[in-house]
Symmetry: C2
DNA sequence: GTGCCCATGTAATCTGTTACATGATTAG
DNA sequence: CTAATCATGTAACAGATTACATGGGCAC
């Protein structure tokens, strides 16, 4: 099960019933650039999950577009539970573009470092403010909360390490 | 430029001169499961970077294995600089398996949540201890430092949100 | 001399991206 | 009625994984 497949199952579970299109949009709007929500990824993934018996599709009446209302089967429920409680996969650092690049920043010449660190600080501060607003509007999405925690820890690291 | 390509350039810069095999090993040993360092990813990526003129390869003497000593060209140096200072890509939350799964944990039934949260706490604590040891042995790798910061912020979130 | 690591690569397959394509519904 | 959005998909291509394949160097 890929991350996308697991995340799709999670999303259906959260929404109980939804369309492929709604999920695609949700991934598109994700703050993470890694979740593109492209049609060529989402529709085939849903097809696979349906073939494996994790997703049940039901044609909506009163709609000639072939709109499918998707929901989780019993097998889908237990699959998403197994996937989400896999400790080893959960606690890995994942794919962190900040972390990957950080090693390069420490070897920049002082003048360039100063400029770059200042830009990073501004960008992080703006992002944190934005996330705080989102969180105040709706504090039920743990992903926003964890994004906020991540950005704050990056800022702390930045100030302590590159801006001392 | 993909994340792998950028990370490979970073790695060569760090090491000044190295073989493809050494880099592959480094990615394999990475604490992130997302960096597999598979031959089918690394060798073709190095080939592409060489063709673009970012990497210079020199055959090692006294070795009949065709060992290539890789280093960065001038163009490679400037490419890695551009890649590493791309603010928008750097500050995205990336691909965080903990964050992706977190939304599912909050809807677990209390009994299952308790067990899972306890397992997560143990795993995170163990990982933090391990990372602290690594960091004490060598505090020059910012990736270890940022991994540590990430795991600590996850633990804080876990205790505040799932274990209250 | 044999097993383990160094060192390089390719082939089949899978997943994801980008671009293309189609048509229904709804708000103005 | 027309533009935006809803809704579904496919095709060409790029990139990654897994497994396979080869052979040199070295320690015991």
């Amino acid at each position: 099960m890929t991350e996308l497949e697991g995340a799709l199952l999670c999303e259906i579970r959260r929404r109980k019933v939804c369309t492929a299109y709604e999920m695609r949009r949700a991934f598109e709007k994700s703050s993470s650039l890694e979740w593109s929500g492209s049609t060529g990824a989402v529709y085939p993934a849903i097809k696979r999950l349906t073939q494996r018996g994790f997703i049940t599709a039901e044609q909506s009446k009163d709609d000639a577009r072939g709109t499918n209302l998707l929901s989780l089967s019993k097998e889908g429920m237990s699959a998403v539970h197994l996937w989400s409680t896999d400790i080893d996969r959960a606690i890995g650092p994942g794919f962190d573009p900040f972390r990957t690049r950080s090693i390069e920043w420490t070897v920049l010449p002082p003048a360039k470092l100063k400029i770059h660190a200042a830009k990073l600080e501004r960008a992080l501060t703006a992002r944190i403010e934005e996330l705080e607003k989102t969180f105040k509007a709706d504090n039920t999405d743990t992903r926003v909360e964890l994004d906020l925690a991540l950005q704050r820890s990056r800022l702390v690291w930045l100030r302590r390490t590159l801006l001392d």
